[in-house]
C-alpha cells in the first residue's frame, strides 16, 4: 500500500455535469502511469483530484493506504510539474527551485545539496541566478522539473509537461524524464494526449474517454490488444483499421471477400453473425495479385520510412495498409493478406474486444 494511489468508485461532478463516473484505478508504487485520452476526457481532472485541487464528489481516494479526500494539497507530499510550468516570474531560478524547501524550513546545507544535485542532473548549473523570463522554453521546463525533483516526494505528477516544447526538444525531454524517474522511482502519474509520449514513457497506460477508464495495461497490450474500438482507434497513426464484417458459416466476409476462420477463433466468435474486424495498418501485408481481402488504392502517403496506402474495399469501407519496404510500389496493390495473430475482433453492439487466441 505504501506510495500507491487507489481510486474507489470516485465520481466528480460540477453542479449537475458529471465529468467522472465511478472511477476505479489502482496506481502501484514506483510505476510510471500515463493518463491518456482526448481533450475533455477527464484525465486532468483525475490528476487534479489526486493533487487535491478538485473536490471528490463521491467515493474514496486512497494515497499510502489512507483516505485523502479531505487532506489539503500541501499535506499530500506531492511534487508536480504544471503544463504552463508555473514558475514564479519574480524569483530567480534558484529561488524557484528552493521555494518549497525554504517553506519546509529544511537546513541550508540540505537545501543546497539537493538543489545542486538537481541542477546537475538537468544541466542547469550556471543558470541558477537568472530570472525565469531569461530562459528558453526548454530551460523553463527543466527548471519546473528541478523544482519537483528537489522535493523528493514519493508522488510525482506531471500535467502535459512537454506540450509546450517543439518536437525535437520533446523527444529529448522524454528520455530525460524516464532517466530521472529510474533514478528516484517515485510513483509517477503523467497526463498527456500525445500517444507517442504515452507509449514511450509508460509502464502502464490508462486510456480515458468521457470520464471513464477504457483500458489500463502495458503499452504493448494496449497497442496490440485494445479492449474496445475506442482504444483501437485512438492509439496508432494511422489508427487501427476497424471494419464491419459478416460471419458466414466458418468464414468471415471482409469487404465481400470471404476468409476461412481458424478453429480456435471460431470458438471466440461463437454465434455472432456480425463482428468488427480490427487490424493494424502495418499488419496488413500488401499483395499484388491474389489478395485475401481485395481493395483499390485511393491515395498514397510516403513518410520516408513508411509507405501508407488507403484502400477502398469492395463494400466501400476504407482500409489503411502500411509497409516499410522501400522497393515496392503500393500503387499496383490488389489488396492485403493478414495473419490471424494480429487480428482483433470486436462485438458490434458493445464495441468490446471479444477475446483473442493466447499464444
Amino acid at each position: 500500500m505504501e506510495h500507491s494511489i487507489v481510486f474507489s468508485h470516485v465520481d466528480k461532478a460540477y453542479g449537475k455535469t458529471v465529468v467522472i463516473k465511478d472511477l476505479n484505478l489502482e496506481i502501484r508504487r514506483g510505476e510510471r502511469l500515463i493518463l491518456l485520452g482526448p481533450s475533455g476526457c477527464g484525465k486532468t481532472t483525475t490528476l487534479r483530484m489526486m493533487a487535491g485541487f478538485e473536490d471528490i464528489s463521491a467515493g474514496e481516494l486512497y494515497m499510502d493506504g489512507k483516505v485523502v479526500n479531505d487532506v489539503p494539497p500541501g499535506e499530500r507530499n506531492i511534487a508536480m510539474v504544471f503544463q504552463s510550468y508555473a514558475l514564479f516570474p519574480h524569483l530567480s531560478v534558484w529561488d524557484n527551485i528552493t521555494f518549497g524547501l525554504v517553506l519546509q524550513k529544511l537546513p541550508k546545507e540540505e537545501i543546497e545539496k539537493r538543489t545542486y544535485q538537481a541542477l546537475d542532473i538537468l544541466h542547469l548549473r550556471g543558470q541558477e541566478h537568472k530570472k525565469t523570463h531569461e530562459l528558453s522554453g526548454g530551460q523553463k521546463q527543466r527548471v519546473a522539473l528541478c523544482r519537483a525533483l528537489v522535493k523528493q516526494s514519493p508522488f510525482f505528477f506531471l500535467d502535459e509537461p512537454l506540450s509546450n516544447l517543439d518536437a525535437q526538444l520533446r523527444q529529448k525531454a522524454r528520455t530525460e524524464l524516464v532517466k530521472i524517474h529510474e533514478m528516484f522511482r517515485p510513483t509517477m502519474i503523467y497526463v498527456t494526449h500525445d500517444q507517442i509520449e504515452a507509449m514511450t514513457v509508460a509502464d502502464r497506460i490508462a486510456v480515458m474517454n468521457k470520464g471513464k477508464v477504457q483500458q489500463i495495461d502495458t503499452p504493448d497490450t494496449i497497442y496490440h490488444h485494445p479492449a474496445n474500438v475506442f482504444v483501437a482507434t485512438f492509439i496508432g497513426s494511422p489508427a487501427m483499421n476497424v471494419v464491419k464484417a459478416r460471419i458466414e458459416g466458418t468464414k468471415i466476409v471482409i469487404g465481400e471477400c470471404a476468409v476461412e476462420i481458424p478453429a480456435e477463433w471460431l470458438k471466440i466468435v461463437g454465434t455472432r453473425k456480425e463482428v468488427i474486424f480490427g487490424l493494424r495498418p502495418e499488419a496488413a501485408k500488401p499483395n499484388f495479385d491474389n489478395a485475401m481481402v481485395k481493395g483499390t488504392v485511393d491515395f498514397l502517403e510516403n513518410t520516408g520510412n513508411l509507405k501508407t496506402a488507403s484502400l477502398t474495399l469492395s463494400d466501400g469501407q476504407n482500409f489503411f495498409i502500411q509497409d516499410s519496404n522501400q522497393n515496392i510500389d503500393l500503387r499496383n496493390v490488389s489488396g492485403f493478406d493478414f495473419d490471424w495473430n494480429n487480428v482483433n475482433l470486436f462485438d458490434v453492439e458493445t464495441e468490446m474486444n471479444i477475446g483473442y487466441v493466447k499464444e
Binding site: A51, F53, P72, P73, G74, E75, I78, A79, M80, F82, Q83, S84, Y85, A86, L87, F88, P89, H90, F99, G100, L103, Q104, T132, H133, L135, S136, G137, G138, Q139, K140, R147, K151, N164
Partner: protein, 275 residues
C-alpha cells in the same frame, strides 16, 4: 493634404488645448506665488512676474505654522492610505482565493457602496463622529475613510490576473494562504498596489470637504483648510500667500510620486510559456 496628416493635425491641436488647460492653473499658481499683491492685480495673466518677490514664501514659512499643517495632513493621509491598502488587499485576496457562501452577493454589495454619493453619507457620518466624541480630532476625519470599495474592486481585478497555476504550485509546496499572499501574489501585483496607494494618498491629501466639517480648531487644520484662511469672501484675499501655500501643498504628493515611480514598472505576470 492627406487625410492622415490632417487627422494628426487635428489631434495635435486638440492635445495642445488640453495641455494648456491642464497646465495653465499650475503655471498661474506658481507665478502668482512670486508676485506681491499689487503685481497680482496689475498683471494677472502674466506668467513671468518681474521683479520676483519671495515675500510670500518668507511670510508662509515665518508667521504661519506650515509644518503643523503638513504634519496634520500627512498623518491623516498616511493612516488612510495604509488602512485602505491593507483592507483592499486582504479582502480582494479573500474574494479571489477562498470559496464561501454568498461570495458574489457580498462582492456586489461592496460594489454598490461606491454608487452612494458623498452628500448622502455626510450627515450620518457627522452624527456618528459627533456621538463618538471625535469632532475636531484627526480620528474623526480618518475613521469613515478606512476602507474603500473601489480599492477592493481594483485589487481583486488585478489579483485575478495572477495565473492560477502559480498559486497552486505554491500551495503544493506547502505555502499557507498568508504565504501565498505575501510570497506570490503581492510581489506580482506590486506595481498596481503602489499605483493604488498613491491614488489613496493624493485623494486624502487633497480632501477638503470632510475635514472642513470635522476640524474646527485651527491647530488641527489640514493644508487645504489652511489655504482657505487666506481667501476671504469679503475681499482682501492674500492671493500671493495663498498661492505660495498651494505650491508648497502640491509638493509632497509630487515627491512621493517621483519616489514611487521607479517601482511602478511592468512586471511579468505570466510565467511565460513562450521562450
Amino acid at each position: 493634404m492627406k487625410t492622415e496628416t490632417r487627422n494628426e493635425l487635428i489631434w495635435h491641436g486638440f492635445l495642445v488645448v488640453a495641455i494648456f488647460l491642464t497646465l495653465w492653473p499650475i503655471v498661474f499658481m506658481i507665478s502668482t506665488s512670486f508676485k506681491d499683491l499689487s503685481q497680482v492685480f496689475e498683471s494677472t495673466l502674466n506668467p513671468l512676474p518681474w521683479p520676483i518677490t519671495f515675500d510670500n514664501y518668507t511670510t508662509v514659512l515665518g508667521n504661519f505654522p506650515l509644518f503643523t499643517y503638513i504634519w496634520n495632513t500627512f498623518l491623516i493621509a498616511a493612516i488612510v492610505t495604509v488602512s485602505k491598502t491593507l483592507t483592499s488587499v486582504l479582502s480582494a485576496f479573500a474574494f479571489v482565493y477562498y470559496d464561501f457562501k454568498y461570495k458574489e452577493s457580498l462582492f456586489n454589495g461592496m460594489l454598490l457602496t461606491f454608487f452612494i454619493p458623498i452628500t448622502v453619507l455626510v450627515m450620518p457620518n457627522y452624527l456618528m463622529m459627533s456621538k463618538l466624541g471625535l469632532l475636531n480630532t484627526p480620528w474623526g476625519v480618518v475613521l469613515p475613510c478606512l476602507v474603500d470599495g473601489m480599492g477592493v474592486f481594483l485589487m481583486r481585478q488585478t489579483m485575478r490576473c495572477v495565473p492560477k497555476a502559480l498559486l497552486e504550485a505554491a500551495i503544493l509546496d506547502g505555502a499557507k494562504p498568508r504565504q501565498v499572499l505575501t510570497k506570490v501574489i503581492m510581489p506580482l501585483i506590486k506595481p498596481a498596489l503602489l499605483a493604488n496607494s498613491i491614488l489613496f494618498f493624493i485623494n486624502s491629501w487633497n480632501e477638503y470637504f470632510w475635514p472642513l466639517l470635522i476640524l474646527q480648531d485651527k491647530d488641527s487644520y489640514t493644508l487645504p483648510l489652511a489655504l482657505q484662511m487666506f481667501i476671504s469672501a469679503e475681499g482682501g484675499s492674500e492671493w500671493g500667500i495663498a498661492m505660495a501655500v498651494a505650491t508648497l501643498t502640491s509638493l509632497p504628493p509630487l515627491i512621493l510620486y517621483g519616489f514611487c515611480q521607479k517601482f511602478i514598472i511592468n512586471t511579468f505576470m505570466s510565467s511565460g510559456v513562450k521562450g
